[in-house]
């Protein structure tokens, strides 16, 4: 078996509402934030998910991520669109305004080995007012954790590689 599944490839989907990316490269929060920059934005919410160094008292040495990229990128794209639909009314805005309550969303998920302490996911959302970017950013993260076809394996200090645990975000 090769190190990474052949179906776990880099992927990128750009839409008017934003961008979804799966990459084997380290995530650069600054450049991802620039992807959602907009003169109409008064707020940008950024979530950075990093790999933790412990699990139930065990020392985590590294985490490996893989994705069924073809499907995962579709799922993430539809979650972005879902978020833009869901938060479609701002308390601050009159209904006839031309600026949407969510302007742009960027989702970057890293694949391959992510050393402890480095970002595995970065989500940036821009909006005219702060409330919607906070809400949409959290919504996108939670939906990705539920549905995106991405898997994480944790490796522990002093344990054999084959005992490394495939994680699940929800109990089966």
């Amino acid at each position: 078996m090769s190190q990474w599944p052949p179906a776990s490839v880099e992927a990128r989907e750009e839409l008017i509402e934003g961008i979804a990316v799966l990459t084997y490269n380290a995530l650069n929060t600054e450049s991802i934030t620039r992807e959602v920059a907009d003169a109409r934005a008064g707020a940008t919410a950024i979530f950075i998910g990093t790999t933790r160094n412990s699990f139930k008292g065990k020392v985590v040495t590294r985490l490996d991520y893989q994705a069924y990229s073809k499907l995962a990128i579709k799922t993430i794209t539809s979650i972005i669109l879902e978020a833009h639909q869901k938060f479609s009314r701002s308390l601050h805005q009159t209904p006839d305004t031309l600026v949407p309550p969510i302007i742009r969303s960027a989702v970057y998920h890293r694949l391959g080995t992510v050393p402890v302490g480095e970002p595995s996911i970065v989500i940036a959302v821009s909006s005219p007012h702060r409330k919607e970017s906070f809400q949409a950013c959290e919504y996108i993260l939670e939906r990705i954790k539920e549905d995106a076809q991405i898997w994480k394996r944790e490796f522990y200090e002093g344990e054999k590689e084959e005992d490394a645990e495939w994680k699940a975000n929800t109990a089966p």
């Binding site: 078996m1 090769s2 599944p5 052949p6 179906a7 776990s8 998910g49 991520y65 893989q66 994705a67 069924y68 073809k70 499907l71 995962a72 579709k74 998920h109 595995s120 996911i121 993260l141 990705i144 954790k145 539920e146 549905d147 995106a148 076809q149 991405i150 898997w151 994480k152 394996r153 084959e162 495939w166 994680k167 699940a168 975000n169 929800t170 089966p172």
Partner: protein, 91 residues
């Protein structure tokens, strides 16, 4: 004689650990079209004692990169890309 129709089965995460594979070509047994829900038993019989049964119990299927809602009503005729979608853990 026409060749037997096959599907490509992709394995990720715990499913790839159990089978030792990332993917394989599987000949569809008769009767065809073959029910997707029957694929579980076929795969389990190919990898006895590897814990694949438990993995499949908690997994979903995708066919041609679309999640399947009802495997009983989904049939395979050959040429499809089927994937075992284990409980996800992105983020």
């Amino acid at each position: 004689m026409p060749s037997t129709p096959t599907v490509t089965v992709l394995y990720f995460a715990a499913a790839s650990t159990a089978t030792g594979l990332n993917s394989e070509e599987i000949e569809l047994p008769t009767p065809r079209p073959f029910k997707l829900s029957s694929l579980s038993n076929l795969l389990i019989s190919r990898y006895p004692g590897k814990g694949l049964e438990k993995v499949l119990e908690s997994s979903q299927w995708s066919v041609d990169a679309e999640m399947v809602d009802n495997p009983d009503e989904t049939v395979l005729t050959g040429g499809e890309e089927v994937a075992v979608i284990c409980p996800v853990s992105g983020g």
